[in-house]
Structures are given as C-alpha cells and as structure tokens.
C-alpha cells in the first residue's frame, strides 16, 4: 500500500529530518514508528498525505507518486486517509458531532446519511452521549477519541496517527490504543507514531534514529 523509496527530507537552511529511508507497508498492516523526540517520526508521517514533500526519493501510496501530485489531485488522495494529529486540530467553534461531520461534508454526503454515520463513529469511540458538546468541554482523552472518530468516519483504507496517546494517562492511552487495534482488526491499514509501542502488541515496528531507519 505504501512504498517509501530512499526518502530524504531537508528543511532549509541545514536541518535534515530524514535520510535515505526505505520501507514498505502492506495493506491491512499495523505498523508503529518509534524513536526519540526529533527522530523524524512526524516528518515521515506527513510525507504520506503530502503535507510535506520529500527532498529526494519517492513516496508511493496505492501506486501513486504522492510527491508529484498536483494540488488539484491532492484532496482526493487525502480522502482515502484518516489523519489523527498530535495536536488533534479539532474545530472548537462547533460541536463534537459537527467536527465528525466535516469529512463527510467535504466528500458531499447526503445530510441524513452523514448524520447517521457520524453518530456511529462517535458511538464507536464511546462519545455518542457527548455529541452536542463543544470540544472545549471534553477531557484530553475524549478529545483524542473525537479526533479518531473524525479520522475514521469516512471509512478510509489508511489510518495515520501521530502520537495519539502522548498526553494521556496510562489507562486512557490503553483505551485509545485499543480503538486503533480494532480498526486494524477490521482490515484498515494503521500507521502510528508512538513513544510507547507496548500499547500496540503485534505491530511491526519501524525505529527511526536521527532520521535514519535503524
């Protein structure tokens, strides 16, 4: 599903985030990316939905060279990817439900069907009762679960998460990790950057060290 071929990423003037990284991730796999802070985990994840583009090498997603995609084609790549960000990027001016509805509105789902699906996604992460709440009123763990619901509501084939358990206590982290494990079980390709991969038993591990695959 994802092929990384001799990827390098440099930020001007002279910061090198990734050097010569090659890896392959098959459909339906659960892969964790581990490494110290600043090892290049986030950068690697950002290359896949083309939030960043590699300085050298190619990133293929379903056979498509992501780095060479035109800005017109980009939205359609991203619609098949669920993204959970380190800082969640929730919209605080609208309810939890409206946050989850956004990906469906973007794809142009009929309203009623979208509503049904969004509620199902909230139910899956245990937030259906908080559907009308504003994100500010949710706890850290709830916000993280809301971000996951938004990432999976349009049923993407690939789920990418950057440190989804970073700011959570051990128990909540376990809950959140379990949600990812569940998506993996139903066939979604899951790629998670984490400081603690014991939360994801059975995952294949990619270790980054100073921008190189170790």
């Amino acid at each position: 599903m994802i092929q990384l071929d001799r990827i390098s990423k440099r930020y001007p003037p002279d910061m090198t985030a990734l050097t010569d990284v090659s890896a392959e991730i098959g459909a339906g796999e659960l892969v964790t990316i581990v490494g110290h802070s600043g090892a290049g985990k986030s950068t690697l994840l950002k290359l896949i939905p083309a939030i960043e583009r590699p300085t050298a090498g190619t990133v293929l997603v379903n056979g498509q060279n992501v780095g060479a995609l035109s800005s017109r084609a980009l939205p359609f790549l991203r619609r098949n990817i669920g993204l959970v960000f380190q800082d969640q990027k929730l919209l605080f001016d609208r309810s939890a439900l409206a946050n989850v509805l956004l990906p469906l509105e973007i794809v142009g789902f009929p309203h009623r069907e979208a509503q049904r699906r969004a509620e199902a996604a909230l139910d899956k992460v245990g937030l259906l009762k908080r559907a009308r709440a504003l994100p500010i009123a949710l706890s850290g763990g709830e916000q993280q679960r809301l971000a996951i619901a938004r990432a999976v509501v349009h049923r993407p084939g690939l789920l990418i998460a950057d440190e989804p358990t970073a700011y959570l206590d051990a128990e909540t982290a376990q809950d959140v990790a379990a949600i990812f494990m569940e998506f993996h079980r139903v066939g979604v390709t899951v790629l998670v950057a984490t400081y603690d991969d014991s939360l994801f038993p059975g995952a294949r591990r990619l270790r980054l060290d100073h921008g190189r695959l170790a």
Binding site: F76, R79, F85, E105
Partner: protein, 300 residues
C-alpha cells in the same frame, strides 16, 4: 442535485457566520448601504429630473410670430416659404383666434384678456427642423426675422435642451460615483473576507487536511461576500426609499412653485433588482478576489 446541496450548505454556513457577529455584520452592511445609496439615490433623482424635460418637445423648434396687423395670407405665405425649404421638417400654423380662445380658457387670464379692446395675439407658425444642430436653428431664425410681416422669431425648447445636457452630465457623474463606490464595496468585502479567513485559519487548514478542494473551502466565503453585499443593497434601498418618502412633499411643493409636477417615487422593481444584483455581485467579486489571494498565500 449534489451541486445544489453544496451551495445550500455553504449558504447556510455563511448565514450562520453573519449571525454570530451581528455588530460586525451590521456595521459592514451599513457601510455598504451608504456607499450604494449615493449612486442609487442620484440615479433615481436624475430619472425624475429627466422626466420633467420629456414633456417639452424633444426636437428643436422655432416659433415665428407674425405682426398683429398682418393678414392671414401673409402667415400662409410664410408657412409655404418655410415648407419649401429642405431644412424644415414640419410646420404648424397657430391662428390668432384659436390662441385667444385657448388663453381665455386658462385661469386668471380670462379677465385680463376680456378687458382688452382687441385680440392681442398674432398668428404664429411652429417650425420643426430636420437638422437638429443649434447652428441650423440659429441661422434659420436669423433669416426668418428679415421676412415681411414677421415680428419675432423665438427658439423654443431651449430650457429642455439645457436640462437634457445637464442630466447627461449628471448621469456621467453618477456613473463615475457608482464606479468608485462599487470599487469601495469590493474593497470592503475583500477585507472582511480576509479577516474571516484569518480567524478561520484552523478550519481552512483542517479542511485541507481532510481532503477538501479549494472550491469547497471557498464556497461559504463567497456566499458570505454575496450575502453581505446583498444586505448592503437592501440597506441602500431602505435609505433611498426612506429619503424619497421624506423629501416627497417638500420637493413636490417646490416644483409646483415653478409650475412643474415632480412626485418622487421609490425605486422601480427593475431598478431595485439591478441594485440588489449589483450589490450581491460586487460582494461576491470582492470575496472571490480575497479568496484567490488567501488560498494561494497558504496553498498546500
């Protein structure tokens, strides 16, 4: 169907955004309304003034007055002479008896005329020229003054021409004003939308990450601009209509003193449509320009 749903969704979102900041919205609407009311009101006023001139003959005319002692035959001769010329399109003989009757019929004059020993009015010939230039008018008038038994030659409809020229000039002025204030409206929406995008930076960014096309992101902002413009147009209409109703009586009274009938009326349905359409269109344009700049500024 899908297109319609997208538009409706964006429209509702834009309405909600307008409603969440009522004071800002009101101020913007008022600003646009005042900017649009000036050219719209000017246009309305000029329509009324132009209508005043319509009653007067539009084609340039001369009136040739015979001397009071002249016989009918002299007038007929002059008329024949005028009709023989290639630069005269049409003539009409006003017989002195008919003029007397007409004048007696009008208020206040009957007594005065009745007191006169004999008919004070001469025969007159109203001449319409084929050539409309003032020079042609002047030269014929000069010539006719030398003809036998002609007492006086008067160029008519002068004031109507001056009025028409004034209205033409004023219309150009209103057009200029409309252009400038239209640009002002575009600037207002451009800036409002720029601020909107800045405060909704996260939303734009998140939408992009979730696979939104630029069209999807742009849509509610375009609606916002168009609706803001439209509301401004409505405000302008209310200002113009309010001013019209307020000024209606005093203006009518003033006009009456000059023997004119001038009743201000609120803008017609057609003009209202043009005003609303232009306001919404300009708002949309300002938003579109703003979005083009904003989206390319943080494109990814």
């Amino acid at each position: 169907m899908n297109w319609l749903r997208n538009q409706w969704q964006a429209c509702r979102l834009a309405l909600a955004r307008l409603a969440t900041a009522p004071v800002n919205t009101l101020l913007s609407v008022l600003g646009i309304g005042i900017a649009l009311a000036l050219p719209a009101g000017g246009h309305l006023l000029l329509d009324h003034v132009a209508a005043l001139g319509k009653g007067a003959a539009a084609a340039p005319q001369l009136t040739v007055f015979m001397s009071v002692e002249a016989e009918r035959k002299a007038a007929l001769d002059i008329e024949a002479r005028l009709l023989g010329r290639s630069d005269v399109a049409q003539t009409e003989l006003l017989e002195r008896e008919a003029t007397l009757k007409r004048m007696k019929a009008s208020d206040g004059l009957a007594d005065v005329i009745g007191a006169l020993p004999k008919n004070p009015f001469p025969d007159a010939i109203v001449v319409t020229l084929a050539d409309e230039s003032p020079a042609a008018l002047e030269s014929l008038a000069a010539e006719a003054r030398k003809w036998p038994r002609v007492e006086q030659v008067q160029i008519d409809a002068d004031w109507a021409h001056r009025l028409a020229a004034f209205v033409r000039l004023a219309r150009t002025g209103v057009l200029l004003l409309a252009t400038l204030l239209g640009l002002g409206l575009i600037t207002i929406t451009f800036n409002t939308i720029r601020l909107q995008v800045l405060t909704r930076q996260t939303e734009v960014e998140v939408s992009r990450l979730l696979g939104a096309t630029d069209a999807f992101i742009r849509r509610p902002f375009l609606w916002y601009g168009a609706l803001l413009g439209l509301l401004g147009g409505v405000a302008a209409w209310l200002i113009v209509a309010g001013a019209t109703l307020w000024l209606r009586l005093p203006v009518a009274e003033l006009a009456q003193l000059y023997g004119l009938e001038l009743m201000l009326a609120v803008p017609t349905a057609k003009n209202t449509g043009i005003l609303f359409g232009a306001a919404a269109g300009l708002g949309w344009l300002g938003a579109a320009l703003s979005m083009r700049q904003q989206l390319s500024a943080n494109s990814r």
